[in-house]
C-alpha cells in the first residue's frame, strides 16, 4: 500500500504566541518526538521542526489517521501538557502534494511571519540533519528535503524576495552600502543609546565597519554602551571634532533640541575633504537639523524616511512572492511525478521498456551484419535477445513484487530505479542528488 506524506503543525497564523511558547520544544522533548517517529509502527519516516514561530511534524505513513492521532497526543503530552482537543484546532494537517507544497513554501520562507527572512532555511537544515542522525528519514523525506533546499535556493536566486531590507537597521545598512559601497574601514559615531540605535550599530559593525565611538550626555552611560561594542567613549563636547573623521552617525538621544546643527556640519565639510557623511537619525524628536541634508555629500535619514523605504520593500517582497509561488508550484508538480514513479507497477513497466529499447537499439546496430541471414534466422536472434533480457530482469521483478506490501518498499524502488537508471531515460529528468546540495 502506498504511504501518504503528512505534515501536521502550527505556525504564527494558526496559533497564538502563548501556545507556540508552550510548544517550543526543549531538547529533551524533541528527542522524545524523534524517538516516537522512529518507533511508532504506523510511521515510516519522519522529521520534526521546531522554531519560535512554528512546530511541524512531517511523516509518511500508510495509516495516516492513526499516526496523526498518535503524534498529536505525543506533542500535547510531551511538549505543551495541554489537552489534545484544544491543540488540534490550532493544528493544520496536510497530505501528499499539499504537504509537499507546504514544506517547499516553509523552506523558501513564503510561510514566514516576515516573508523572505533567511533564518528558516538554516533551521530546516538543522532539523533535517537531526532526522538523519536519528535515522528517522527515509527515501521520501530525503528526497523531499533535498528538493526543498533546491526550491529555496531557486526562490532566493530567481526572485528578489530576500533582496530588500524590511527592518530599520537593515534598511540603514543597505543605504550605507549604496553610499559607501563597502563599509570596510568606515567609522561610526553613535550618539545616545537605545535598542534600535544599538541594533543598527551592530549591523554596521557586522558589515565591516572598523571603528566606532559612542557619545552620551553622561559619560558613564557612554562608557557602558562603548564597553558593549569595544568602542571609544566620548563626551558630548567632542562630537564636533569627531564629525571631521566619522562616516556614519547614528543619533538617538532623548534631547528636545537638535544635537547636530547645520552650521556644525557645514564647518566640518572642508576638514572632511568632502567625504560623504551619512546621518541615521532615529530619535524622536529629531536630533539632526533637517536642513543638514541640503549640504553636499551629506545624507540625512530620519525614522520616517527609513520606514518609508521599508514600506516600499515590503510591497516589493509581496510582488516577488507571487513569482516564488510559481516556482514552488513547478517543483511540487515535479515532485508529484517522481512520487508516482515510486510504486511497483510503474517501476516494472519502466524496467521492461528499458530492456525493450536496448534490444531494439542493439538489433539496429547489428542490422548490417545480419543482412545475409534468412528471415527465420533473424527472428531466432531476436527471440534470443528477448529471452536473455527477460531472464535477467525476472529476479529483480519478482523481488520488487515480493516487497510490494512491505514498509521498506520505497527504498527498494528507489534503489532499483537508480540501479537501472530508470529516471533518466523515461520522460521527465529529475535533478540528481548532487545538484540539490
Amino acid at each position: 500500500m502506498k504511504a501518504k506524506i503528512v505534515n501536521i503543525g502550527v505556525n504564527h497564523e494558526t496559533a497564538p504566541v502563548e501556545l507556540r511558547e508552550c510548544l517550543a520544544a526543549d531538547p529533551e522533548s524533541s528527542a522524545k518526538i524523534f524517538g516516537a517517529l522512529r518507533d511508532l509502527s504506523c510511521v515510516r519516516e519522519g522529521m520534526f521542526l521546531s522554531t519560535c514561530n512554528r512546530v511541524e511534524v512531517l511523516f509518511t505513513s500508510d495509516r495516516a489517521a492513526e499516526a496523526r492521532q498518535e503524534i498529536l497526543s505525543l506533542i500535547s503530552s510531551g511538549l505543551g501538557k495541554l489537552q489534545s482537543e484544544a491543540l488540534s484546532s490550532c493544528f493544520y494537517s496536510l497530505e501528499d502534494l499539499n504537504a509537499v507544497r507546504h514544506v517547499f513554501r516553509v523552506a523558501s520562507s513564503l510561510d514566514s511571519m516576515v516573508v523572505g527572512e533567511p533564518q528558516i532555511l538554516g533551521q530546516i537544515k538543522e532539523a533535517y540533519q537531526r532526522a538523519t542522525q536519528e535515522k528517522t528519514s527515509g527515501v521520501i523525506v530525503n528526497r523531499l528535503m533535498h528538493r526543498a533546499f533546491h526550491v529555496a535556493k531557486r526562490v532566493r536566486t530567481e526572485t528578489g524576495i530576500c533582496a530588500s531590507a524590511v527592518s530599520i537597521s537593515y534598511a540603514a545598512v543597505e543605504l550605507a552600502k549604496k553610499i559607501f559601497h563597502s563599509l570596510e574601514g568606515k567609522s561610526v559615531l553613535l550618539i545616545g543609546a537605545g535598542e534600535m540605535a544599538e541594533l543598527a550599530a551592530l549591523h554596521l559593525v557586522n558589515n565591516g565597519v572598523s571603528s566606532m565611538s559612542v557619545a552620551n550626555r553622561t559619560f558613564e552611560r557612554a562608557m557602558a554602551v562603548a564597553g558593549r561594542f569595544g568602542a571609544k567613549p566620548l563626551s558630548f563636547d567632542e562630537i564636533a571634532r569627531e564629525l571631521f573623521e566619522v562616516d556614519i552617525v547614528i543619533c538617538s538621544t532623548a534631547s528636545a533640541e537638535h544635537v547636530i546643527s547645520f552650521e556644525q556640519v557645514k564647518r566640518s565639510l572642508r576638514k572632511r575633504r568632502n567625504r560623504p557623511l551619512f546621518f541615521i537619525d532615529i530619535a524622536i524628536p529629531r536630533d539632526v537639523e533637517p536642513t543638514v541634508n541640503n549640504l553636499p555629500n551629506v545624507y540625512v535619514y530620519d525614522i520616517d524616511d527609513l520606514k518609508g523605504i521599508i514600506a516600499l520593500n515590503v510591497d516589493q517582497r509581496k510582488r516577488e512572492a507571487v513569482r516564488a509561488e510559481r516556482i514552488v508550484e513547478e517543483e511540487v508538480l515535479k515532485f508529484g511525478q517522481w512520487l508516482n514513479t515510486l510504486s511497483v507497477v510503474p517501476t516494472i513497466v519502466a524496467l521492461q521498456e528499458k530492456a525493450g529499447a536496448i534490444i531494439q537499439a542493439e538489433l539496429k546496430k547489428s542490422n548490417s551484419l545480419m543482412e545475409h541471414l534468412a528471415d527465420g534466422q533473424k527472428e531466432a536472434v531476436e527471440m534470443l535477445a528477448r529471452s536473455i533480457a527477460e531472464k535477467v530482469l525476472n529476479d529483480p521483478i519478482l523481488f520488487l513484487k515480493g516487497k510490494a506490501e512491505r514498509a521498506a518498499v520505497d527504498t527498494y524502488l528507489d534503489v532499483a530505479r537508480r540501479l537501472f537508471n530508470l529516471d533518466r531515460n523515461h520522460g521527465v529528468k529529475y535533478g540528481s542528488e548532487s545538484d540539490d546540495k
Binding site: H181, R273, N274, D305
Partner: protein
C-alpha cells in the same frame, strides 16, 4: 575595401546596446555577460577594420569626421572594457554601449571619403597624436557617463525617492571612483595628445602653435580638465560637484571635437583635412 568589418562592428555594437538595455530592465546577470561578449566581439571586428584601414591609408584612419567618430567609439569601448575588468560594474555598459553605438550610427550615415592620402598625413606623430587624444577622449567619455549615473543615483538618495534606477545603479562611492580614475588616466593622455599634436604641427607645418580655433578650444578643454583634476586632488572635490563639473568639461570637449569641425573655419578642420580634400 574593409566596409564589411565596419558593418559587422556596427551590428554587434547595436546588438550589445540592445542587450544592455534589456539588462537594465530585467537585471538578469547572463544578459549582461552576453552583452559584454557581443560588445567585445564588435570591438574585435572594429579593431580589424581599423588595422586594415591603417595599412591601406598608411596613417591613422581619422582624417574625416566619419572615421574620427568611429575611432572615438572604438576608444570608448576599449576604455569601457578595461574599466569593466577593474570595477565589474555591469550597468555601466547600459550607458556606455548606447553612447558608443550612437557615434557609430552617425559615423555610418556619413559618406566614405575617397581619394589618396596626402603624404603630409603619413607621419608617426599624427598617429601618436590622434591615438592619445582619442584615448583621452574615451576616458573622459567614461567620466561623463559615470557622472550622469552619479547624479541620477545621488538625486534618489538625497531626495529619498527611490525609482527603478536605485537598485540598478551601483553605489555613489563606486561611481565617484570610476569618475576619479577615468579623469586621472584621461588627463595625461589629453596632455600627451596636445604635445604630440604641436610637435606634429611643427614637423608638418613648421609651427608649434597657430591659434587655430580647434587648438584654442583644445587648450580651453585642457584648462577645464586641469582645474577639475586640481580641485579633486588638492581641495578634495568629489561627489556631486565633481560630477557636474566633469559633465560640463565633457560638453566643452564635444564642442571642441565636433563643434569646431562643423561651424568654425580653421586648418584643423576635417573638410580641409579630408583625404580627398584640399
Amino acid at each position: 575595401m574593409h566596409y564589411p568589418w565596419f558593418f559587422l562592428a556596427l551590428v554587434f555594437d547595436l546588438l550589445a546596446t540592445g542587450g544592455y538595455i534589456v539588462y537594465l530592465v530585467k537585471q538578469e546577470k547572463w544578459v549582461s555577460s552576453a552583452s559584454c561578449f557581443l560588445l567585445f566581439t564588435g570591438f574585435v571586428f572594429h579593431t580589424i577594420f581599423l588595422c586594415k584601414q591603417y595599412v591601406v591609408l598608411g596613417t591613422a584612419p581619422v582624417l574625416d569626421l566619419k572615421s574620427a567618430l568611429s575611432f572615438f567609439s572604438w576608444c570608448i569601448i576599449l576604455v569601457f572594457l578595461a574599466f569593466h575588468l577593474k570595477f565589474r560594474v555591469m550597468v555601466l555598459g547600459s550607458f556606455v554601449a548606447p553612447f558608443a553605438a550612437f557615434l557609430m550610427i552617425i559615423s555610418s550615415a556619413m559618406p566614405w571619403a575617397t581619394g589618396p592620402v596626402k603624404p603630409l598625413f603619413k607621419s608617426i606623430w599624427l598617429t601618436v597624436h590622434v591615438s592619445t587624444i582619442f584615448l583621452g577622449n574615451g576616458l573622459f567619455a567614461i567620466t561623463f557617463v559615470a557622472a550622469v549615473m552619479y547624479l541620477i543615483q545621488e538625486r534618489q538618495i538625497k531626495h529619498k525617492r527611490f525609482g527603478s534606477f536605485y537598485r540598478r545603479l551601483p553605489s555613489l562611492a563606486t561611481l565617484d571612483s570610476i569618475n576619479h580614475y577615468a579623469l586621472i588616466c584621461g588627463f595625461p593622455f589629453l596632455t600627451l595628445g596636445m604635445i604630440t599634436g604641436s610637435i606634429y604641427a611643427q614637423v608638418a607645418l613648421g609651427s608649434y602653435w597657430q591659434w587655430d580655433p580647434k587648438e584654442v578650444w583644445s587648450l580651453v578643454t585642457w584648462l577645464f580638465y586641469a582645474a577639475l583634476l586640481h580641485e579633486r586632488l588638492t581641495v578634495g572635490w568629489r561627489g556631486r560637484r565633481a560630477a557636474v563639473m566633469s559633465i560640463f568639461c565633457f560638453c566643452i570637449l564635444l564642442f571642441t571635437f565636433v563643434g569646431t569641425t562643423l561651424w568654425v573655419k580653421g586648418y584643423h578642420n576635417f573638410t580641409t583635412l579630408g583625404t580627398g580634400g584640399a
